[in-house]
């Protein structure tokens, strides 16, 4: 034990309320603690205490008062102490250090500091164990449980220790790797990583034998052995994550691969068909860009952060959102992030899945912990960054129990020209300085390794999990967007994400030719990192800039004046060489061509999969009204208001169609922001995915996703000529021919529907192996694969505010369904909740759909449409009920059944491309003119009463709006 001190501050009231509610125990208190690496005299103790607490709401605990203060709350008997593991980013500690340094200036020099959260409880030991499990994650935090009295004694005796990262002092000497070894040993390097001198392995490189042999051949041609850094760099650069090998591989008879043929191919075809190209930047940059108005470009990018979110849901999700924000900062010369989007695909938070990564140990986090952590991670990331998060959704399915899907997106805006130059073009010039700005480098995210908590001790800093620090990024982002960019002070910029410097510099150097980096210049969070670790670390909040030597001083000064670090770490060169030095020793020297294109290309084969038919479930006999309530309150339809209200969607004062719509606050399918004060043009955003349709027919699944994402923007009032889409494929077992078949089918649909709708893909990303391989509670080995999931995000421009639609009909409006309703209940919410009916899966007829959409757009511009909602999950029944809940106005629906479909089918079929609209009676004649030859049905009217009724000759369903609202707004169990 060292002679140090801790300051504990207890909140008089407040903080613990949610914890008390959750554990149904009023005797819980939370203490904020700060550990100092050195002793403080009484004067300093008092002064510092004052700086970091508020004595109106908090009490500082001292040896003298601790007994009295704590016993005034209750007789606690247990204490949980939660601290970050050494090396894990401790944002609170950084802030406290800054406050102290600023205030005490030179009178208080070097010290280390850690923050801690202490929970006091009166209860049983089981309660405290449960709380500690819910409040901390062993991957990044240490959790200690003390009997209350023992804790008090320790406190009084200053018995605690501050744990710093203590890395063995290792002197780096260049490490050459011998690849002239057996195939078996080669494959070990690929699978388990490079062998250290003590025979331990660094962790998987994800290189197959073919790739390692390609590396061996390259080095035997240039007649030397590779260094460890070279192998690590190639592994990073050639990873599926960076190179998207599956999408670019030859697959069956498609030589160019499915990306070139179906995704990029669709966009090229559309540009060729349309004469009015509004695409500005496609696929090559960090995000895709389209024209917003004559002076501005908007860009959009959606990323996934699945594996990290399974390990540390909060850290994974916050890193996901601030990471994709950087994609926006790295678009062209740097776009300002103006909106975040999210989509979570999760297991049922109310179920206990009890999965283990290893037999009987290393358990998966509970489903509700994962769900809550992800939701709060994006909340903190988005809210703290001052970027509104209006658009998103959540979907639940048991097949996400092994791997949650976390999609995070960002929209950005940038002037078309900066100082007369096109802003989306950037080029690192030979001679430009490589500048790293933002956070420091630690062992974060190295190899994205997954290892059990047992392996973690103070000597092994966390390397699996990165934790985003939105404030560091916000400071950096403000300097770039507000100060440096518009003065044209840098030639190129990109973000540091996967692969860290090795990837960002490697990519930028394509613009100049090559690069030389001096790794010892890179500022570190702590000493003791090997050069290869510095090179591939995924520490967050960093951008890499290419700066003309004449501007470097100015740029660094500007960063420093805003409390942001910026460091010269090398330069870009003309020669097409990638060179890395560490203290003058050259540790990497590769041809750029080999680095980026040297990887062996895959040759994939697909085979038709066995279709897994939906299990038949007997339909429980219940009345239609019971069914409607059941569907409304089912997790995938029920309101997501609780997320919308915790994500700040009003910041930047741009929100004009909000996530909750109508007086009755219905969670909308699309949202809109108006990004410029001086232009009424708006941006509409939506997204869609149908993993539940994937196994039956992946082609139709993809068609439905595109149709819904596109339709939602049309319904919101966007200009159909200014809608672009993004693809995010999250697949499973992508080394199996039947999964690849599904992939190919989905990609083919992407081409067909995008071209049919003439809505180009502008950006995309894929994540191909979302499988969990582990054990159940009995020790039996299990594999859980996600259902193939294609998230289509749509972004569109709304020309006029008056084009924006609403979800609320008015008294006397007539209601119409545009589009055709068929018996398409297979894989629907109805079939899952109520039971399976002999039925088909929804199929998009793009010709009919387009006719509906074009006519809708025309009618809306003419002011014929009074309110509208896209019909999707739960069909007409749910769409009608949502309109009534939103407007608090009664609706009467006449069931005129065509096509020999039953009432259930009519109400709950998920046939695509349908819109429910309302209009004034006197607009009907004009409407009919426009919709001549197009499918539509007048289904009822808005009565203004307080009931919703669906009737034919006799009344079938009749219920109070308030009752429906109650079902729709039910809490999701487990959250």
């Amino acid at each position: 034990m060292t002679n140090t001190i801790q300051i504990l501050s207890i909140e008089k009231t407040g903080k613990e309320s949610s914890l008390q509610k959750e554990h149904n125990n009023k005797s819980i208190k939370i203490i904020d603690g700060y550990f100092f690496s050195r002793n403080l005299d009484d004067q300093k103790f008092t002064k510092i205490s004052k700086l970091i607490s508020n004595d109106v709401s908090q009490t500082i605990l001292t040896k003298k008062n601790i007994n009295k203060v704590l016993s005034s709350y209750c007789n606690f008997n247990w204490v949980v102490e939660i601290k970050f593991l050494p090396g894990v980013t401790d944002n609170i500690a950084t802030t406290v250090k800054e406050i102290i340094k600023d205030n005490l200036k030179s009178s208080f020099k070097s010290f280390e500091l850690g923050s801690t959260k202490i929970i006091l409880i009166k209860g049983r030991k089981e309660d405290i164990t449960k709380i500690s499990k819910n409040e901390a994650n062993p991957l990044i935090q240490t959790i200690k449980i003390y009997p209350f009295k023992q804790y008090l004694n320790n406190f009084k005796k200053n018995q605690f220790k501050i744990e710093k990262v203590k890395l063995p002092k290792k002197k780096y000497s260049k490490k050459e790797i011998n690849l002239d070894i057996s195939d078996y040993n080669l494959s070990l390097i690929g699978k388990l990583g490079i062998e250290e001198n003590d025979k331990s392995r660094r962790g998987t490189l994800g290189l197959d034998l073919k790739s390692i042999k390609t590396i061996r051949n390259y080095f035997s041609t240039i007649k030397r052995k590779p260094t460890d850094v070279e192998i690590e760099t190639l592994a990073q650069t050639w990873s599926e994550h960076c190179k998207h090998k599956i999408f670019s591989a030859k697959i069956d008879d498609i030589q160019e691969g499915i990306f070139k043929k179906y995704i990029k191919g669709a966009t090229e075809k559309i540009i060729q068909l349309r004469k009015d190209n509004f695409c500005v930047s496609l696929f090559t940059d960090n995000a895709g860009g389209i024209e917003f108005n004559k002076d501005w470009i908007i860009c959009h990018k959606v990323e996934t952060h699945n594996t990290p979110s399974a390990l540390d849901p909060f850290g994974g999700a916050i890193t996901g959102i601030v990471g994709v924000n950087r994609d926006c900062l790295g678009f062209g010369k740097g776009a300002k992030p103006i909106a975040n989007t999210y989509a979570y695909y999760l297991a049922d938070p109310n179920k206990k899945y009890q999965l283990y990564r290893q037999k009987n140990k290393d358990p998966m986090l509970p489903a509700n912990f994962i769900a809550k952590g992800i939701i709060s991670g994006v909340r903190v990331g988005g809210n703290c960054s001052g970027i509104p998060t209006p658009q998103g959704n959540v979907y639940f399915d048991d097949r996400f129990a092994g791997k949650p899907l976390v999609f995070c997106g960002t929209v950005g805006i940038i002037p078309k020209k900066i100082k007369g130059k096109l802003s989306h073009k950037k080029k690192a010039n030979p001679g430009d300085i490589i500048l790293m700005a933002g956070g420091r480098v630690g062992k974060d995210g190295i190899h994205g390794a997954t290892f059990s908590s047992e392996e973690l001790d103070p000597n092994s800093p966390v390397s699996a999990v990165q934790i985003g620090d939105p404030i560091t990024q916000k400071k950096m982002s403000d300097v770039i967007i507000r100060e440096l960019r518009d003065e044209n002070l840098y030639s190129s910029i990109t973000d540091n994400g996967a692969g860290g410097l090795s990837s960002s510099i490697g990519e930028m150097a394509k613009e100049s030719g090559g690069f030389i980096v001096n790794l010892e210049k890179v500022p570190l969070k702590y000493n003791g990192l090997y050069p290869w670790e510095i090179w591939v670390s995924e520490s967050q909040e960093r951008m890499t800039l290419a700066v003309r030597p004449a501007n470097v001083k100015k740029v660094i000064n500007r960063f420093n004046a805003r409390g942001v670090e910026a460091t010269i770490i090398g330069k870009f060169i003309k020669k097409e060489k990638a060179i890395v030095k560490y203290n003058k020793t050259e540790i990497l020297n590769l041809d750029m061509e080999f680095l980026h294109e040297g990887y062996p290309k895959l040759n994939l084969k697909t085979s038709f999969p066995k279709i897994k038919k939906e299990k038949k479930k007997i339909i429980k006999k219940s009345s239609l009204i019971v069914k409607l309530h059941k569907l409304l309150s089912s997790p995938n339809i029920v309101s997501k208001e609780f997320i919308a209200t915790q994500y700040d969607h009003e910041v930047q004062a741009t929100s004009i169609i909000k996530p909750l719509q109508g007086e009755g606050r219905v969670f909308g399918n699309a949202t809109a922001i108006k990004p410029l004060f001086d232009d009424e043009k708006s941006i509409a955003l939506s997204q869609a995915a149908y993993p539940q349709y994937a196994e039956t027919n992946p082609y139709d699944m993809a068609g439905c996703s595109i149709d819904t994402a596109y339709k939602n923007l049309i319904v919101s009032g966007a200009n159909s000529k200014k809608i672009a889409i993004l693809d995010n494929f999250c697949w499973c077992s992508s080394d199996e021919p039947d999964r690849l078949y599904q992939l190919k089918e989905a990609a083919k649909a992407c081409y067909d529907y995008a071209v049919a709708y003439q809505t180009p893909f502008i950006s995309g990303k894929d994540s191909m192996f979302n499988d969990f391989k582990g054990f159940d509670k009995t020790g039996k080995s299990v594999k859980i694969s996600i259902p193939p999931t294609l998230l289509i995000s749509s972004i569109g421009v709304v020309d006029k505010i008056s084009h924006l639609t609403k979800m609320t009909p008015d008294d006397g409006d007539i209601l119409l369904v545009l589009g055709n309703t068929l018996n398409e209940l297979q894989d629907s919410v109805y079939s899952k909740i109520i039971g399976y009916e002999k039925s088909k899966n929804p199929v998009v007829n793009s010709k009919d759909a387009l006719r509906t959409y074009r006519n809708f757009e025309k009618a809306n511009k003419l002011g014929i449409i009074n309110s509208a909602i896209g019909i999707d999950l739960g069909g007409i029944g749910i769409a009608v009920t949502k309109l009534a809940i939103a407007s608090k106005k009664g609706l009467t629906i006449d069931l005129k059944l065509k096509n020999k479909i039953s009432v259930d089918q009519f109400l709950f079929s998920e046939s695509q491309s349908r819109i429910l609209v309302s209009m004034k009676k006197n607009k009907l004649a004009n409407f009919k003119k426009i919709f001549k030859g197009s499918d539509y049905t007048i289904i009822g009217k808005c009565t203004g009463l307080d009931v919703v009724e669906f009737k034919d000759n006799r009344k079938i369903i009749r219920g109070k709006i308030s009752d429906f609202a109650k079902s729709y707004k039910q809490n999701i169990k487990g959250l």
């Binding site: 903080k15 607490s53 004595d55 809210n383 805003r562 409390g563 915790q646 994500y647 910041v651 909750l660």
Partner: protein, 254 residues
Amino acid sequence: MNVLVLSGYGINCENETLHAFEVVGFKGKIVHINDLIQNPKQLNNYQVFAIPGGFSYGDDTGSGNAMAKKILTNLYDQLIDFSLKDKLIIGICNGCQILINLGLVPSLNKKDPEVAMIENKSGNYECRWVDVKVNNNKSPWLKNISILNLPVAHQEGQFMIPINLLKSIKANNLIGLQYINNHKKLAKGQFPFNPNGSKDDIAALTNQNGNVLAMMPHPERALYHYHVPNWQNNTPKKFGDGYKIFINAKKFFA
């Protein structure tokens, strides 16, 4: 008329706050706190000092605390000086939390912070629209306003005020805004009308002169009619309720 809008370290509503002042006729500038510390004299060029919303220092050590301590260490005297002149200060959301932590409102005892901002009773971040009414208050910021429909977005919006102080706050009419329910009566702590559980439904406090206003709701996010939820159902007009706060600032100097 010039307004200085503060920025830096995670403050994030400076653009829209400056815009709101510009719309009513102010000239203004966004100034980074470090630049202001470097050159505090520039305050003389301004009549209004605005601390916008945001997440300064990520709310570490309590919302508004760290930024308040930075101001306390480096700019406190200048800011006190500013507040004693015929000038205006506004703190919105995080800015409100900063002013409270500085003790600039209610500033009855002229010493350390007298009020604290603590976590919402719901335990959640709350982004939603609320109605507030102007209490009997002489603040120039609130003149001739009765009711405002504005958004809040905060995790720590609950005013914590010791009982005796609350009495003098009321006696001195320093409560600026109070949350009301859908019948235009005080919310009496009822969620969601009172989104954070603030005692006496307090949404804003002023100092005794009324020239310093610390408010949790965001008037700059309710500047135009299309900011208001479901604006399509309302009779068209140009501005939202937030405009009234900014135009009052202009009238004060007119």
